[in-house]
Symmetry: C2
Subunit: 390 residues, 2 copies
């Protein structure tokens, strides 16, 4: 680990990809980089960060500091991200470092600012929306969005933070009294009565090759992804194909490079786009074991403009359930238990100390019966969290 100098040179002719951010997405990219034999570096704030623990070419520095980004960029052939919240000054510094930045700042803007995203997605099924400005009135909200209204900060939210639901004017006023991050505005959206939440992931390379993963069902709780079933059971084929085509179209129109996750609501009349993420995404962790090529490998292939790998599933169903930190700081006993109980279980832990509610890992199971897989995976996740102990 280094605060200044170089990264280990990969074998002759092979490039170095740098990932900004030291979280679990960068951590899970390391196995893909190991197999591919490329160089892989991470810019992380702390040596105890999830990825810093497992990537030798970790550069310690603040991903929000333009100088740190520029210095990191000079070590890499291509820079990509494990999160989108990189300030514009940092992206400019990266571009000035002479490295390729993928996805580029223009594409990334759509994942950084939900208003920029909604404006770019005109023509795509979205919730009705408006921006709360100085002249906006409650009558506008009633007419253009309806009640209840979903209130979002345009920038800086993640994992349910920065999103509220207001049932009436009083609740709306309460949310709008919250402080806004610099550069953020209030986005008000229609509350979509969905029958399921879906995620459609695609990988796209700079030369325009793209592959679509099967559409998955996600379950969110308090804005945090709780579980994923891949593919979404009982999804009509025409809806699945429409969702994949929508994701491919968004990737092309916004010139995304790397992985794109399009989170959608399924409604009786079709899908509606909720959010975009331009990086490997929690809804794609199942691909490590469940698809021929994982989202982490295809993200690397895409940002390197290498031919993409097959996104085809290797089993009828794969389910993923997140493991959140519970009350017990030492998980090792529970870990032994879940392995003994289910030899098919894949346990992924992120090298994080346990803190209540923190995403510290996930479990994955593949097989033929999604209900059986979910029951087993939920049991394992709950046991690891400490929610159940029998």
């Amino acid at each position: 680990m280094t605060e200044t100098a170089g990264v280990t040179p990969p074998p002759r002719g092979f490039p170095v990809v740098g990932m900004v951010g030291g979280g679990q997405l960068a951590r899970m990219t390391q196995p893909a980089a190991i197999a591919l034999g490329i160089g892989f570096a991470v810019l992380a704030a702390h040596p105890q960060d999830s990825a810093a623990r497992v990537v030798p070419d970790t550069v310690l520095g603040d991903p929000d500091d333009p100088e740190a980004l520029a210095a990191f960029g000079r070590l890499c052939d291509v820079v990509t991200f494990d999160h989108e919240q990189v300030p514009a000054a940092g992206l400019a510094a990266l571009a000035a470092s002479g490295t390729e930045v993928r996805p580029g700042p223009a594409a990334l803007a759509h994942a950084q600012d939900k208003i920029v995203m909604r404006e770019a997605l005109r023509g795509v099924p979205c919730p009705r929306w408006l921006v709360w400005g100085p002249d906006t009135t409650v009558a506008h909200v009633t007419a253009e969005v309806g009640w209840p209204v979903v209130v979002k900060t345009s920038r800086g939210g993640y994992d349910g933070k920065g999103v509220w639901v207001a049932r009436d004017e009083a609740e709306l006023r309460e949310v709008l009294a919250e402080p806004l991050a610099p550069g953020a505005r209030w986005l008000l959206e229609e509350f979509v009565p969905f029958t399921a939440e879906l995620s459609a992931q695609v990988a796209r390379s700079p030369s325009g090759q793209a592959v679509a993963y099967p559409v998955v069902r996600t379950v969110q709780q308090d804005g945090i992804c709780k579980e994923v079933v891949a593919p979404c059971p009982d999804l009509p084929a025409d809806v699945a194909v429409a969702a994949q085509e929508l994701a491919l179209r968004i990737a092309r129109d916004l010139e995304v490079v790397g992985m794109l996750a399009v989170e959608m609501f399924l409604t009786p009349t079709g899908v509606v786009v909720n959010e975009l993420a331009m990086r490997p995404h929690n809804s794609g962790h199942w691909t490590i074991e469940g698809a021929v090529t994982s989202q982490f490998e295809n993200h690397l292939r895409a940002v390197l403009d290498l031919p993409l790998g097959s996104p085809v599933p290797v089993a009828p169903y794969t389910v993923m359930v997140n493991v959140l930190g519970g009350e017990h700081p030492d998980m090792y006993r529970a870990y032994r238990h879940v392995m003994a109980r289910d030899p098919d279980l894949h346990v992924h832990l992120y090298g994080k100390e346990v803190r209540p509610g923190r995403k510290i890992g996930h479990v994955t199971l593949s097989g033929a019966d999604p209900d059986d897989l979910l029951a087993r995976a939920r049991h394992a996740a709950d046991y690891l969290t400490g929610v159940i102990d029998e």
Copy 2:
């Protein structure tokens, strides 16, 4: 990377496994350690070693130096190996460091010395054999082993080094005139006319739990593993079960902990044991994508006495073909080509500079038709090597 001090402490309650040796087996163990969330350290001689490039907790030191081993052992809860050629003094130093050594020196002796192995395997089908001593005559060879005779150094051979075939007395005398490594003797074995070479891998934990992977067919060329088909096509079920039972019995009788590979000859009258390896093995690289739990993960689980993962295959067939270095030092163009040609292909490169004949990677494919998979995987490997270029 450190020449002295500690390893990154894993989260509370989690152990640190140390692996002696910085080759590709240690490199491919890192992704398994990342998923499991345990600490993982490597003792490597050079910072450019295959594993040293991808494991932050690499300790630089000579794996043949007892002091380096003892210092490494003090950093770890359990020490294991990516090769068996660790001198007895080093194993003693590790034991004295207070760390668990798995497999233990008594088990490991059978993988270090082929005569010790043959003596321990009395009662198991083996080639006829004798040790060439001061009183041995050619008449003994003719009577007890027959011609041609396979001549092996008892210690220190690998990848075909240390093995010769002598067709007559003149050739035998020529081999026996070769210098022997310290502590090594000459082992003379029956030349077994096999119909196929097999490998039966099992994982075994200190508490005695064991799992058996499907028996695979291996093809060796000049003593180097060239390709593997898992499971071995057309192997009668009773022979497959007998081979698995034999491997489980050997693991139990020799008190192996971790992965054991039993390389066998298939003959018209059954299987005959050729070699043992007590570590992840080239014949098990297919398990990374082809089995529920990879050999690398089960090796870690076994040495930690964690419950073992399922060894069941995830596809009807998985094939693996090794990539040897060719004449072209820059493989990147060929690498793009093979990815474009076959989106199902898994490419694994070991971070090594290309040298002719050096194992620098492997490719894997899963599917229903082993002949089709082999043709595609061979093409990819040959293209990466530079044997073909169309």
